[in-house]
Subunit: 196 residues, 2 copies
Protein backbone atom coordinates (compact mmCIF):
# COMPACT_ATOMS: atom_id res chain seq x y z
CA UNK A 1 0.00 0.00 0.00
CA UNK A 2 1.33 3.42 -0.92
CA UNK A 3 1.74 6.17 1.66
CA UNK A 4 -1.08 8.01 -0.10
CA UNK A 5 -3.29 4.96 0.30
CA UNK A 6 -2.45 4.73 4.01
CA UNK A 7 -3.26 8.39 4.52
CA UNK A 8 -6.53 8.03 2.69
CA UNK A 9 -7.50 4.97 4.76
CA UNK A 10 -6.60 6.82 7.97
CA UNK A 11 -8.73 9.81 6.96
CA UNK A 12 -11.65 7.55 6.06
CA UNK A 13 -11.30 5.71 9.37
CA UNK A 14 -11.48 9.02 11.20
CA UNK A 15 -14.42 10.16 9.07
CA UNK A 16 -16.30 6.91 9.76
CA UNK A 17 -15.81 7.19 13.53
CA UNK A 18 -16.90 10.82 13.39
CA UNK A 19 -20.00 9.91 11.35
CA UNK A 20 -20.95 7.24 13.90
CA UNK A 21 -21.02 9.91 16.60
CA UNK A 22 -22.52 12.95 14.87
CA UNK A 23 -24.51 11.16 12.16
CA UNK A 24 -23.57 10.59 8.53
CA UNK A 25 -25.54 13.66 7.56
CA UNK A 26 -23.58 15.78 10.03
CA UNK A 27 -20.35 14.67 8.35
CA UNK A 28 -19.11 17.48 6.13
CA UNK A 29 -15.71 18.30 4.72
CA UNK A 30 -15.68 21.16 7.25
CA UNK A 31 -16.44 18.96 10.30
CA UNK A 32 -13.88 16.40 9.08
CA UNK A 33 -11.25 19.13 8.69
CA UNK A 34 -11.86 20.27 12.28
CA UNK A 35 -11.64 16.69 13.57
CA UNK A 36 -8.49 15.70 11.63
CA UNK A 37 -6.81 19.13 11.67
CA UNK A 38 -6.26 18.71 7.93
CA UNK A 39 -6.97 21.55 5.52
CA UNK A 40 -10.44 21.86 4.05
CA UNK A 41 -8.94 22.43 0.60
CA UNK A 42 -6.86 19.24 0.85
CA UNK A 43 -9.91 17.22 1.93
CA UNK A 44 -11.98 18.85 -0.77
CA UNK A 45 -9.39 17.79 -3.37
CA UNK A 46 -9.76 14.21 -2.11
CA UNK A 47 -13.53 13.98 -1.75
CA UNK A 48 -15.02 16.71 -4.00
CA UNK A 49 -18.35 16.97 -2.20
CA UNK A 50 -20.18 16.12 1.02
CA UNK A 51 -22.16 13.42 -0.78
CA UNK A 52 -19.02 11.85 -2.21
CA UNK A 53 -17.42 11.90 1.26
CA UNK A 54 -20.52 10.18 2.69
CA UNK A 55 -20.39 7.49 0.00
CA UNK A 56 -16.67 6.91 0.62
CA UNK A 57 -17.38 6.54 4.33
CA UNK A 58 -20.13 3.99 3.67
CA UNK A 59 -17.81 2.05 1.34
CA UNK A 60 -15.12 2.12 4.01
CA UNK A 61 -17.59 0.89 6.65
CA UNK A 62 -18.81 -1.83 4.26
CA UNK A 63 -15.25 -3.06 3.72
CA UNK A 64 -14.80 -3.25 7.49
CA UNK A 65 -18.14 -5.10 7.84
CA UNK A 66 -16.99 -7.59 5.20
CA UNK A 67 -13.78 -8.29 7.16
CA UNK A 68 -15.40 -8.36 10.59
CA UNK A 69 -18.68 -10.16 9.83
CA UNK A 70 -19.18 -11.49 6.30
CA UNK A 71 -15.84 -13.24 5.69
CA UNK A 72 -15.69 -15.02 9.09
CA UNK A 73 -19.35 -16.04 8.73
CA UNK A 74 -18.68 -17.64 5.35
CA UNK A 75 -15.61 -19.35 6.79
CA UNK A 76 -17.74 -21.15 9.41
CA UNK A 77 -19.20 -24.58 8.54
CA UNK A 78 -22.50 -24.37 6.65
CA UNK A 79 -25.74 -24.69 8.58
CA UNK A 80 -26.35 -23.86 12.21
CA UNK A 81 -22.67 -23.11 13.02
CA UNK A 82 -22.60 -20.50 10.26
CA UNK A 83 -25.83 -18.92 11.49
CA UNK A 84 -24.41 -18.73 15.02
CA UNK A 85 -21.21 -17.16 13.68
CA UNK A 86 -23.25 -14.60 11.72
CA UNK A 87 -25.23 -13.60 14.78
CA UNK A 88 -22.27 -13.34 17.17
CA UNK A 89 -20.15 -11.39 14.68
CA UNK A 90 -23.03 -9.04 13.90
CA UNK A 91 -23.88 -8.47 17.56
CA UNK A 92 -20.24 -7.66 18.34
CA UNK A 93 -20.00 -5.40 15.29
CA UNK A 94 -23.18 -3.49 16.13
CA UNK A 95 -21.93 -2.62 19.59
CA UNK A 96 -18.17 -2.34 19.10
CA UNK A 97 -17.31 -1.36 15.54
CA UNK A 98 -17.69 2.37 16.09
CA UNK A 99 -17.68 4.66 19.12
CA UNK A 100 -21.14 6.05 18.31
CA UNK A 101 -22.99 2.84 17.49
CA UNK A 102 -23.50 1.03 14.20
CA UNK A 103 -23.17 3.45 11.29
CA UNK A 104 -25.50 1.41 9.08
CA UNK A 105 -28.26 1.52 11.70
CA UNK A 106 -27.99 5.27 12.21
CA UNK A 107 -27.55 6.10 8.52
CA UNK A 108 -30.57 3.93 7.61
CA UNK A 109 -32.70 6.03 9.94
CA UNK A 110 -31.22 9.32 8.73
CA UNK A 111 -31.57 8.64 5.03
CA UNK A 112 -34.68 6.47 4.75
CA UNK A 113 -36.70 9.33 3.32
CA UNK A 114 -34.00 11.30 1.55
CA UNK A 115 -33.82 10.19 -2.08
CA UNK A 116 -30.33 10.27 -3.55
CA UNK A 117 -27.15 8.29 -4.05
CA UNK A 118 -26.53 7.84 -0.30
CA UNK A 119 -29.94 6.27 0.26
CA UNK A 120 -29.52 4.16 -2.89
CA UNK A 121 -26.22 2.87 -1.54
CA UNK A 122 -27.74 2.09 1.86
CA UNK A 123 -30.71 0.29 0.32
CA UNK A 124 -28.43 -1.92 -1.79
CA UNK A 125 -26.10 -2.52 1.14
CA UNK A 126 -28.92 -3.44 3.51
CA UNK A 127 -30.73 -5.60 0.94
CA UNK A 128 -27.47 -7.45 0.31
CA UNK A 129 -27.08 -8.08 4.01
CA UNK A 130 -30.65 -9.29 4.44
CA UNK A 131 -30.14 -11.53 1.39
CA UNK A 132 -27.04 -12.97 3.01
CA UNK A 133 -28.95 -13.79 6.22
CA UNK A 134 -31.67 -15.43 4.11
CA UNK A 135 -29.04 -17.45 2.26
CA UNK A 136 -27.36 -18.65 5.46
CA UNK A 137 -30.77 -19.71 6.82
CA UNK A 138 -31.57 -21.54 3.57
CA UNK A 139 -28.29 -23.41 3.68
CA UNK A 140 -29.04 -24.42 7.28
CA UNK A 141 -32.35 -25.85 6.06
CA UNK A 142 -30.54 -27.65 3.23
CA UNK A 143 -28.07 -29.12 5.75
CA UNK A 144 -31.00 -30.51 7.71
CA UNK A 145 -30.20 -28.36 10.76
CA UNK A 146 -33.33 -26.21 10.45
CA UNK A 147 -36.88 -27.34 9.73
CA UNK A 148 -38.04 -27.53 6.12
CA UNK A 149 -40.87 -25.08 6.78
CA UNK A 150 -38.55 -22.35 8.11
CA UNK A 151 -39.38 -18.96 6.56
CA UNK A 152 -35.94 -17.41 5.85
CA UNK A 153 -37.34 -13.90 5.26
CA UNK A 154 -39.21 -14.02 8.57
CA UNK A 155 -36.08 -15.24 10.32
CA UNK A 156 -34.00 -12.44 8.77
CA UNK A 157 -36.42 -9.71 9.86
CA UNK A 158 -36.70 -11.22 13.36
CA UNK A 159 -32.92 -11.46 13.67
CA UNK A 160 -32.59 -7.85 12.56
CA UNK A 161 -35.01 -6.96 15.35
CA UNK A 162 -32.84 -8.71 17.93
CA UNK A 163 -29.84 -6.61 16.84
CA UNK A 164 -31.79 -3.33 16.67
CA UNK A 165 -33.45 -3.83 20.06
CA UNK A 166 -30.07 -4.59 21.63
CA UNK A 167 -28.55 -1.50 20.01
CA UNK A 168 -31.41 0.65 21.35
CA UNK A 169 -31.34 -0.82 24.87
CA UNK A 170 -27.57 -0.70 25.01
CA UNK A 171 -26.92 2.72 23.52
CA UNK A 172 -29.83 4.89 24.62
CA UNK A 173 -31.04 3.12 27.75
CA UNK A 174 -27.52 1.97 28.81
CA UNK A 175 -29.12 -1.30 29.89
CA UNK A 176 -26.34 -3.70 30.98
CA UNK A 177 -28.57 -6.74 30.32
CA UNK A 178 -29.17 -5.83 26.63
CA UNK A 179 -26.63 -8.29 25.23
CA UNK A 180 -27.68 -11.16 27.48
CA UNK A 181 -31.27 -10.68 26.32
CA UNK A 182 -30.21 -10.48 22.67
CA UNK A 183 -28.39 -13.83 22.96
CA UNK A 184 -31.40 -15.37 24.70
CA UNK A 185 -33.71 -14.05 21.95
CA UNK A 186 -31.43 -15.59 19.31
CA UNK A 187 -31.54 -18.98 21.04
CA UNK A 188 -35.36 -18.83 21.17
CA UNK A 189 -35.58 -17.88 17.47
CA UNK A 190 -33.19 -20.68 16.57
CA UNK A 191 -34.87 -23.30 18.78
CA UNK A 192 -38.22 -22.55 17.14
CA UNK A 193 -36.89 -23.58 13.71
CA UNK A 194 -34.41 -26.27 14.72
CA UNK A 195 -35.06 -29.67 13.15
CA UNK A 196 -35.50 -32.55 15.58
CA UNK B 1 -58.45 26.63 23.85
CA UNK B 2 -57.24 30.13 23.08
CA UNK B 3 -56.28 31.18 19.57
CA UNK B 4 -52.69 31.46 20.82
CA UNK B 5 -52.86 27.85 22.04
CA UNK B 6 -54.19 26.65 18.68
CA UNK B 7 -51.43 28.46 16.83
CA UNK B 8 -48.79 27.03 19.12
CA UNK B 9 -50.18 23.50 18.67
CA UNK B 10 -50.26 23.96 14.89
CA UNK B 11 -46.64 25.15 14.86
CA UNK B 12 -45.54 22.25 17.07
CA UNK B 13 -47.41 19.81 14.81
CA UNK B 14 -45.56 21.20 11.81
CA UNK B 15 -42.24 21.12 13.68
CA UNK B 16 -42.80 17.49 14.69
CA UNK B 17 -43.58 16.40 11.14
CA UNK B 18 -40.53 18.30 9.90
CA UNK B 19 -38.31 16.68 12.56
CA UNK B 20 -39.55 13.22 11.53
CA UNK B 21 -38.29 13.88 8.01
CA UNK B 22 -35.04 15.79 8.51
CA UNK B 23 -34.15 14.50 11.98
CA UNK B 24 -34.69 16.19 15.33
CA UNK B 25 -31.16 17.55 15.21
CA UNK B 26 -31.80 19.14 11.82
CA UNK B 27 -34.76 21.00 13.32
CA UNK B 28 -33.73 24.59 13.97
CA UNK B 29 -35.72 27.77 14.39
CA UNK B 30 -34.43 28.69 10.92
CA UNK B 31 -35.59 25.46 9.22
CA UNK B 32 -38.96 25.73 10.99
CA UNK B 33 -39.34 29.34 9.82
CA UNK B 34 -38.70 28.27 6.21
CA UNK B 35 -41.20 25.40 6.51
CA UNK B 36 -43.99 27.40 8.18
CA UNK B 37 -43.30 30.75 6.50
CA UNK B 38 -43.42 32.34 9.94
CA UNK B 39 -40.82 34.86 11.02
CA UNK B 40 -37.68 33.61 12.73
CA UNK B 41 -38.02 36.37 15.35
CA UNK B 42 -41.59 35.30 16.17
CA UNK B 43 -40.55 31.65 16.48
CA UNK B 44 -37.55 32.66 18.54
CA UNK B 45 -39.83 34.56 20.92
CA UNK B 46 -41.87 31.35 21.34
CA UNK B 47 -39.09 28.80 21.67
CA UNK B 48 -35.96 30.75 22.77
CA UNK B 49 -33.43 28.17 21.52
CA UNK B 50 -32.97 25.16 19.26
CA UNK B 51 -32.74 22.88 22.29
CA UNK B 52 -35.94 24.28 23.77
CA UNK B 53 -37.68 23.81 20.40
CA UNK B 54 -36.47 20.18 20.29
CA UNK B 55 -37.79 19.55 23.81
CA UNK B 56 -41.16 21.11 22.95
CA UNK B 57 -41.36 18.87 19.88
CA UNK B 58 -40.62 15.77 21.96
CA UNK B 59 -43.25 16.80 24.51
CA UNK B 60 -45.74 17.33 21.68
CA UNK B 61 -44.92 13.90 20.21
CA UNK B 62 -45.20 12.32 23.67
CA UNK B 63 -48.68 13.82 24.15
CA UNK B 64 -49.71 12.37 20.78
CA UNK B 65 -48.23 8.99 21.73
CA UNK B 66 -50.23 9.06 24.96
CA UNK B 67 -53.45 9.67 23.04
CA UNK B 68 -52.75 7.21 20.23
CA UNK B 69 -51.11 4.35 22.12
CA UNK B 70 -50.98 4.61 25.93
CA UNK B 71 -54.56 5.66 26.72
CA UNK B 72 -56.26 3.11 24.40
CA UNK B 73 -53.92 0.39 25.69
CA UNK B 74 -54.89 1.09 29.29
CA UNK B 75 -58.55 1.14 28.25
CA UNK B 76 -58.32 -2.45 26.98
CA UNK B 77 -59.08 -5.31 29.39
CA UNK B 78 -56.07 -6.35 31.49
CA UNK B 79 -54.01 -9.30 30.37
CA UNK B 80 -53.55 -10.61 26.86
CA UNK B 81 -56.14 -8.24 25.29
CA UNK B 82 -54.23 -5.26 26.66
CA UNK B 83 -50.93 -6.63 25.37
CA UNK B 84 -52.47 -7.11 21.92
CA UNK B 85 -53.85 -3.57 21.99
CA UNK B 86 -50.43 -2.22 22.99
CA UNK B 87 -48.71 -3.99 20.09
CA UNK B 88 -51.26 -3.05 17.41
CA UNK B 89 -51.40 0.60 18.52
CA UNK B 90 -47.60 0.83 18.66
CA UNK B 91 -47.15 -0.82 15.27
CA UNK B 92 -49.63 1.58 13.70
CA UNK B 93 -48.03 4.54 15.45
CA UNK B 94 -44.52 3.60 14.36
CA UNK B 95 -45.50 3.51 10.70
CA UNK B 96 -48.23 6.15 10.47
CA UNK B 97 -47.80 8.82 13.13
CA UNK B 98 -45.35 10.91 11.12
CA UNK B 99 -44.43 11.22 7.45
CA UNK B 100 -40.77 10.45 8.11
CA UNK B 101 -41.11 7.48 10.47
CA UNK B 102 -41.29 7.33 14.24
CA UNK B 103 -39.67 10.40 15.79
CA UNK B 104 -38.71 8.53 18.97
CA UNK B 105 -36.86 5.87 16.98
CA UNK B 106 -34.92 8.39 14.92
CA UNK B 107 -34.21 10.76 17.82
CA UNK B 108 -33.01 7.85 19.98
CA UNK B 109 -30.41 7.06 17.32
CA UNK B 110 -29.44 10.70 16.82
CA UNK B 111 -29.02 11.59 20.48
CA UNK B 112 -27.82 8.36 22.09
CA UNK B 113 -24.31 9.72 22.48
CA UNK B 114 -25.00 13.41 22.85
CA UNK B 115 -25.26 14.28 26.53
CA UNK B 116 -27.76 17.03 27.32
CA UNK B 117 -31.36 17.77 28.10
CA UNK B 118 -32.69 16.26 24.85
CA UNK B 119 -31.01 12.92 25.51
CA UNK B 120 -32.13 13.03 29.14
CA UNK B 121 -35.71 13.56 27.99
CA UNK B 122 -35.48 10.70 25.48
CA UNK B 123 -33.97 8.33 28.06
CA UNK B 124 -36.78 9.06 30.54
CA UNK B 125 -39.41 8.82 27.83
CA UNK B 126 -38.07 5.50 26.49
CA UNK B 127 -37.56 4.01 29.96
CA UNK B 128 -41.15 4.96 30.83
CA UNK B 129 -42.37 3.21 27.71
CA UNK B 130 -40.33 0.06 28.36
CA UNK B 131 -41.62 0.12 31.96
CA UNK B 132 -45.16 0.29 30.65
CA UNK B 133 -44.62 -2.74 28.40
CA UNK B 134 -43.14 -4.61 31.38
CA UNK B 135 -46.14 -3.65 33.49
CA UNK B 136 -48.65 -4.82 30.88
CA UNK B 137 -46.81 -8.15 30.61
CA UNK B 138 -46.78 -8.51 34.42
CA UNK B 139 -50.50 -7.89 34.60
CA UNK B 140 -51.06 -10.53 31.91
CA UNK B 141 -49.10 -12.97 34.09
CA UNK B 142 -51.19 -11.94 37.12
CA UNK B 143 -54.38 -12.53 35.12
CA UNK B 144 -53.17 -16.05 34.37
CA UNK B 145 -52.99 -15.38 30.63
CA UNK B 146 -49.20 -15.63 30.47
CA UNK B 147 -46.96 -18.22 32.11
CA UNK B 148 -45.65 -17.54 35.58
CA UNK B 149 -42.04 -17.83 34.41
CA UNK B 150 -42.42 -15.13 31.72
CA UNK B 151 -39.52 -12.66 31.81
CA UNK B 152 -41.20 -9.25 31.28
CA UNK B 153 -37.92 -7.42 30.56
CA UNK B 154 -37.00 -9.99 27.92
CA UNK B 155 -40.46 -9.70 26.39
CA UNK B 156 -40.21 -5.90 26.30
CA UNK B 157 -36.83 -5.93 24.53
CA UNK B 158 -38.02 -8.59 22.08
CA UNK B 159 -41.19 -6.63 21.34
CA UNK B 160 -39.14 -3.49 20.77
CA UNK B 161 -37.11 -5.49 18.27
CA UNK B 162 -40.25 -6.48 16.36
CA UNK B 163 -41.20 -2.81 16.00
CA UNK B 164 -37.69 -1.63 15.08
CA UNK B 165 -37.18 -4.38 12.49
CA UNK B 166 -40.54 -3.55 10.90
CA UNK B 167 -39.65 0.15 10.84
CA UNK B 168 -36.31 -0.64 9.15
CA UNK B 169 -37.77 -3.08 6.61
CA UNK B 170 -40.69 -0.81 5.88
CA UNK B 171 -38.96 2.54 5.69
CA UNK B 172 -35.52 1.83 4.23
CA UNK B 173 -36.09 -1.40 2.33
CA UNK B 174 -39.71 -0.53 1.37
CA UNK B 175 -40.56 -4.18 2.00
CA UNK B 176 -44.34 -4.64 1.61
CA UNK B 177 -44.28 -7.76 3.82
CA UNK B 178 -42.72 -5.96 6.80
CA UNK B 179 -45.98 -5.54 8.73
CA UNK B 180 -47.21 -9.07 8.08
CA UNK B 181 -43.92 -10.41 9.43
CA UNK B 182 -44.09 -8.10 12.47
CA UNK B 183 -47.55 -9.45 13.34
CA UNK B 184 -46.35 -13.02 12.88
CA UNK B 185 -43.34 -12.34 15.12
CA UNK B 186 -45.66 -10.94 17.79
CA UNK B 187 -47.85 -14.05 17.68
CA UNK B 188 -44.78 -16.27 18.06
CA UNK B 189 -43.50 -14.22 21.02
CA UNK B 190 -46.91 -14.34 22.63
CA UNK B 191 -47.47 -18.05 22.00
CA UNK B 192 -44.13 -18.84 23.66
CA UNK B 193 -45.29 -17.32 26.96
CA UNK B 194 -49.02 -18.12 26.82
CA UNK B 195 -50.30 -20.18 29.74
CA UNK B 196 -52.05 -23.42 28.80
Amino acid sequence: VSKGGDTRAAILGEATRLASRIGLDGLTIGSLATQTQLSKSGLFAHFRSKESLQLHVLEHATARFMDAVVVPTLAAPRGEPRLRELFERWLTWSSEAFPGGCLFISASIEFDDRPGTVRDYLMRNQRDWVDMIVQVVRSAVAEGHLRGDTDPDQFAQDLYGVILACHHANRLLRDPAAHTRARRAFEVLLAAVTAH
